[in-house]
């Protein structure tokens, strides 16, 4: 849905443009405007090179944009210092990556507790909170296992536990099932749906139609522009 900002809007983008400089500048995002409401489970779909990952990086305050406005849960995201950006990422966003991005020499519990460490929470409390999330993911018995000792699905559930441990406003997932087989992908998507049902706002970038189909709304992006949203009448299901 492309609408206007209200209290329920978690993400509001207006006329976002992003160009990568170079011998031939690459205009990857063109006048992107987008609203995502609290409690939505949204997928951003597009072909490779369509700009969906760049959009996710901007949403995750991992990358800057050139023009436009971005409001995240009422906070203007523009020209932030590295420290402020780190703080907002820590408190407001949970990331889930395709390749899990767990720290290999830390066990599952330590990986999940890491965002809390950067909030300055004491060891006991952060371990307790991390364990709660691992239990929620059904991985309590794997808490002291290193990532190398876990299956792909277990790793991704640990990554999801790490993403939600700070109780963020938004979960951003970049191809979260890209490295998983179809059965495990289904399990992971099941976890996302459960989280969404508990009220979490989740944005998943994917090129997998199956993943897109299991979300509540699909935003299709092509050549740096939003081509359509599944909650609008003119949205074409397969493009």
């Amino acid at each position: 849905m492309i609408g206007h900002l209200n209290e329920e809007t978690v993400i509001s983008l207006r006329d976002i443009n992003k160009t990568y400089p170079g011998a031939v500048p690459l205009h990857v995002l063109k006048d992107i405007s987008l609203d995502i409401r609290k409690g939505e489970l949204v997928s951003i779909m597009g072909a490779s090179g369509s700009g969906k990952s760049t959009l996710l990086n901007i949403l995750g305050i991992l990358d800057n944009y050139d023009s436009g406005t971005y409001m995240l849960d009422g906070t203007a995201i523009r020209d932030l210092s590295e420290n402020r950006a780190a703080e907002l990422r820590n408190r407001m966003i949970g990331f889930v990556f395709q390749s899990f991005n767990l720290i290999s020499y830390k066990n599952a519990l330590e990986n999940v507790a890491l965002p809390l460490f950067y909030q300055g929470i004491g060891r006991k409390k952060r371990n307790r909170l991390a364990m709660e999330q691992l239990e929620r993911m059904g991985l309590a018995d794997r808490a002291h296992h290193l990532p190398g000792e876990l299956s792909g699905g277990q790793k991704q559930r640990v990554a999801i536990a790490r993403a939600i441990v700070t109780n963020p406003s938004l979960i951003l997932a970049d191809e979260p099932t890209g490295a998983l087989d179809s059965i495990t992908s289904g399990e992971v998507m099941g976890v996302f749906r459960e989280l969404n049902e508990s009220g979490m706002t989740i944005v998943i970038v994917t090129h997998d139609p199956g993943v897109g189909a299991s979300t509540n709304r699909i935003i299709r992006i092509a050549d740096g522009r939003i081509e359509g949203s599944s909650d609008t009448p003119d949205f074409k299901k397969e493009q």
Partner: protein, 415 residues
């Protein structure tokens, strides 16, 4: 948010990181260990070597000057080239009055003599000195006392015998209060002496018989002739400060050409010691240079390893940044590793250096001369570790700043 340096988990993590790359950690730590150990050993070793050398001069005044007579080499006022002359006790009195920089002084006269006690005899040097000789040579009094000015003034027939003479003549008995014969003249033994220094004038004290200079001159019928006149310069002065006065006094009194530098032989031992001082300074500087080179090699090793660590862990740093680590957190993490490595290995290196120096010091210990000084003062050890800590931290700072500047998105995408 708090800084990770204060969190015990951060340090556990650093320990775990270092433990994961055992060989690399060991080699880097060894570089630091060896750098600090070398610096400590070279520093303390140079000091100990200097101490060992200086022990050879123990008790010997290093600001010593002296004058003695040679044959004339320039004809002057009717005296032919090659003619003899002697310093006299009157010359000595005039020099003492006029010379600007004399602290302790004594005339010295030497004779080869045979000492005897009962049936025991021993060849020795008879050495006539004045009381201030003790201020110049600092003899070690083993028993009794040394010659004093009263002995000289009263021309007493007293003798201080060297410890080797005492052993030869008296065995384990005390010679004090006993009369010995020196070339047939009897002297009351008032003391037994030795010397610490390997350097001496007129032979080693251990093998000499020291008697008042006036007594020796009378005993050997040498009138007022003096073989040498030796003295020390007071602090802040050089023995050479007296040279021109001495030459003038002696040249005037004995009709010696002012151009005859050989006839009046002047010596300034302090010049030799200055050369030795410069040699020791050179050795110390060389030791510091080599030690600092080893230290720098260790520091560069730390810097290199930190670069590798940053490169290897770029992706990890990106993940940490994505989940909330601030740039400073990453810097602290990288720096903490180099600081821990530097502190632990550097401290062990200094301890090892101190241990080696301690062993060297005990091996070179002499009961009479004491310790050579192979040691590392605690302050110096702290300075070495502190210097290494600062340089190691500086070497880790550049990679740490590089790590801090990595953009999270670039780091996450790093393969």
């Amino acid at each position: 948010m708090k800084t990770s340096i204060f969190d015990i988990e951060n340090w556990q993590e650093i320990g775990a990181t270092l433990a994961r790359n055992k060989t690399r950690t060991f080699l880097t730590a060894f570089g630091i260990f060896w750098g600090t150990a070398m610096l400590a050993m070279l520093f303390g070793g140079a000091q100990g070597f200097e101490g060992m050398m200086r022990r050879n001069f123990a008790g010997f005044a290093t600001n010593l000057g002296g004058v003695f007579s040679n044959r004339r080499t320039v004809p002057y006022k009717g005296f032919n080239k090659g003619s003899d002359w002697d310093i006299t006790s009157q010359d000595v009195e005039i020099i003492r009055r006029l010379a600007p920089a004399i602290e302790y002084s004594t005339e010295m006269n030497l004779r080869s003599a045979t000492a005897a006690y009962g049936t025991q005899t021993k060849s020795a040097n008879a050495m006539g000195v004045e009381g201030e000789y003790a201020g110049i040579m600092n003899p070690v009094i083993i028993e009794g006392r040394f010659i004093n000015n009263s002995d000289v003034t009263n021309e007493r027939k007293v003798a201080v015998i060297g410890k080797n003479i005492a052993t030869s003549l008296f065995g384990s008995d005390s010679p004090i209060g006993k009369y010995i014969s020196v070339d047939g003249i009897y002297f009351l033994t008032v003391g037994v002496a030795s010397q610490l220094s390997e350097v001496s004038i007129g032979g080693r004290l251990d093998d000499n018989i020291v008697i008042p200079s006036t007594t020796l001159r009378r005993a050997y019928n040498s009138g007022n002739k003096v073989n040498f006149f030796v003295y020390t310069a007071p602090p802040g002065h050089s023995p050479s400060d007296n040279e021109s006065v001495m030459r003038r006094v002696l040249a005037t009194a004995h009709s010696i050409s002012p151009d005859d530098k050989v006839a009046i032989e002047f010596m300034d031992i302090s010049e030799q010691f200055e050369m030795i001082d410069k040699l020791f300074l050179g050795i110390s500087l060389l030791a510091l240079f080599v030690g600092f080179g080893s230290l720098m090699a260790g520091v560069i090793g730390v810097g290199n390893i930190m670069w590798i660590v940053v490169k290897e862990r770029t992706r990890e740093f990106g993940i940490r940044r994505a989940i909330g680590a601030k740039p400073l957190d990453i810097t602290v993490q990288v720096l903490s590793e180099s600081i821990l490595l530097t502190l632990v290995a550097g401290t062990l290196g200094v301890c090892f250096g101190a241990l080696v120096l301690g062993i060297a010091d005990s091996l070179t210990y002499d009961p009479l001369l004491g310790h050579a000084g192979f040691e590392l003062p605690f302050k110096t050890a702290l300075i070495i570790v502190g210097t290494f800590f600062l340089l190691g931290s500086a070497a880790g700072t550049v990679p740490a700043i590089k790590a801090m500047k990595i953009k999270p998105i670039e780091a996450i995408n790093d393969k």
